[in-house]
């Protein structure tokens, strides 16, 4: 089943690239939900021979939480925001995509010298998780809106999830659940905060202070 795991890894990185190049927040959230869903299927393919209750649980919780609840909360957070598009990212979309391609190559290059303990199921998991983490990080630092930055953070977390899944057998389920809960709470708090910022300023860009000082936006 290595080939399916490979394909999932590739799709996850590809979807991160799609999010990186997208300017519409709703589309970004949908692609994120798709990415999380694909990731949620990964435990099944990793343990296709010995299916246990733990595998099913991890899969289901991931899918319900990250492909269902988190996107739902994000949609809820932006429901009153009239501007649904990223206005002025720090890096242009074209530049981001090219840089993203370079970042992917860099992640693969770094992975050459990273040796994981134990035998990995697929040799693509490590470089792909690293690429996803870096792409998520890029989205986080190059976008100016709160929601898109949170999306970057979530993609970063998806990358970490992909990495963690390769250490599945060594990691207790409790830690995974704890991490997922953390993410959920973080997104929940962000949604409330964004909502309040929205009500206060009617425009929830992070650089809201700057625009008040006379900068045109």
């Amino acid at each position: 089943m290595t080939s399916w795991v490979d394909v999932i890894c590739i799709i996850v990185v590809f979807l991160s690239l799609v999010i990186l190049s997208n300017s519409r927040v709703t589309a970004m959230i949908r692609v994120f939900a798709l990415q999380s869903f694909v990731l949620g299927l990964l435990p099944f393919f990793l343990h296709i021979s010995g299916m246990s209750g733990r595998v099913v649980m991890i899969s289901l919780v991931t899918i319900i939480l990250k492909a269902g609840l988190v996107p739902y909360i994000l949609f809820w957070a932006i429901r009153h925001v009239s501007m649904r598009t990223e206005i002025k990212p720090i890096l242009g979309f074209g530049t981001s995509i090219i840089l993203g391609a370079i970042v992917i190559a860099g992640a693969f290059w770094v992975s050459l010298s990273l040796k994981l303990p134990g035998k990995p199921v697929s040799d693509l998991i490590l470089p792909c998780s690293l690429s996803t983490v870096l792409l998520g990080f890029m989205i986080m630092v190059t976008r100016t809106r709160a929601v898109t930055q949170v999306l970057g953070y979530l993609i970063l977390e998806n990358g970490i999830f992909l990495f963690a899944i390769s250490l599945f057998d060594e990691m207790p389920a409790l830690i995974e659940m704890g991490v997922l809960l953390d993410i959920f709470v973080a997104v929940f708090i962000m949604a409330i905060v964004v909502n309040h910022i929205n009500e206060e300023f009617e425009k929830n860009t992070v650089s809201v202070g700057r625009s008040k000082m006379g900068e045109t936006f």
Partner: protein, 308 residues
């Protein structure tokens, strides 16, 4: 000698009959999605026949470049079609390194189309020409990136071998890389042939179009040549993609031909489905889509290098 001439003529006969059918199937799929009956799949033939019966009208500002462009276009794609294997029919024209010739023949056709559009002196056509030149630059980057990966996969720089028509590509070993190549190449097909979401082949609003605006001044037989060349180009691109995905060789010519035709039918339906489910992109976002094609092609290359 006679044998080769016969092979070439047979190849052209297949390409010339199947290419308009390919466009017809796309139109049919789009009509189906719109809930309409749609014209018959043979409609492109009738359109071409109607155009071939008409006379061409030339503006007084145009020169021989404008008159020559349709002929060069059709000749270029016909030459290119000789490099494409059609199922059991091997490509009559193949040698090591023919991939470069193939890409440059495409560029020649495009160059003449652009320069003919500029020759009319119309501002609309100049606008279309500049768009075409810009987008095809990005397309070529993605195209070459894909070809590099394919040549690494197949250890060959001959088009027929690279795309897995002569020898099968090993999907089991490097499936992920080939998946990325196929995805990127599909975007290139849409962009090179001006399909939705890059350009709408049916639109006739000058401000929004790329390819159609460049052939506005062509009429009659010339327009027929241009449309025929466009259909053959789309067919050729699909003919490159299908063997990459369906790298199967049954050995039996009839089965091989059926696999090839099935693949082409699938490709035309895929294009039709994309066209009916997506809207045309805003012009300034087309660039991003093409850059994604480049990035995906590059990603495929990286994965290939990683897998060794």
């Amino acid at each position: 000698m006679m044998n080769i001439i016969f092979l070439i003529l047979a190849h052209w006969l297949i390409v010339l009959t199947l290419a308009p059918l390919f466009v017809g199937v796309i139109t049919k799929v789009k009509a189906f999605f719109a809930g309409k009956k749609g014209p018959s799949v043979f409609q492109p033939f009738f359109d071409l026949q109607r155009l071939f019966q008409k006379n061409s009208v030339y503006s007084r500002t145009t020169t021989w470049v404008f008159r020559g462009a349709p002929i060069v276009n059709l000749a270029a794609v016909l030459l290119l079609s000789l490099m494409i294997p059609l199922g059991p029919f091997k490509a009559p024209l193949q040698f090591s390194g023919d991939i470069l010739l193939a890409v440059y023949i495409l560029s020649l056709a495009r160059f003449f189309m652009i320069i003919a559009a500029l020759d009319t002196g119309s501002s609309f056509e100049g606008m279309g020409a500049s768009r075409e030149a810009f987008f095809s630059c990005l397309c070529e980057l993605a195209l070459f990136m894909n070809f590099i990966t394919l040549s690494l996969v197949s250890h060959s720089i001959s088009l027929s071998t690279m795309i897995g028509a002569d020898t099968s590509l090993s999907w089991n070993l490097i499936g992920p890389a080939l998946l990325l190549v196929a995805g990127s190449f599909f975007l290139v097909i849409l962009a090179e042939n001006n399909r939705i979401p890059i350009d709408d082949p049916d639109t006739h609003l000058e401000l929004t179009m790329i390819h159609e605006v460049m052939i506005l001044d062509h009429s009659g037989v010339d327009l027929g040549f241009m449309l025929y060349a466009a259909a053959i180009k789309l067919f050729i691109f699909a003919g490159i993609l299908v063997p990459i995905i369906l790298s199967i060789h049954a050995g039996n010519p009839i089965v091989d031909m059926l696999i090839f035709l099935g693949g082409m039918l699938g490709a035309s339906m895929a294009v039709g489905i994309v066209e009916s489910t997506m809207a045309r992109l805003k012009l300034n976002r087309v660039k991003n889509l093409l850059l994604i094609a480049v990035a995906v092609a590059f990603f495929g290359f990286v994965v290939k290098m990683w897998k060794g």
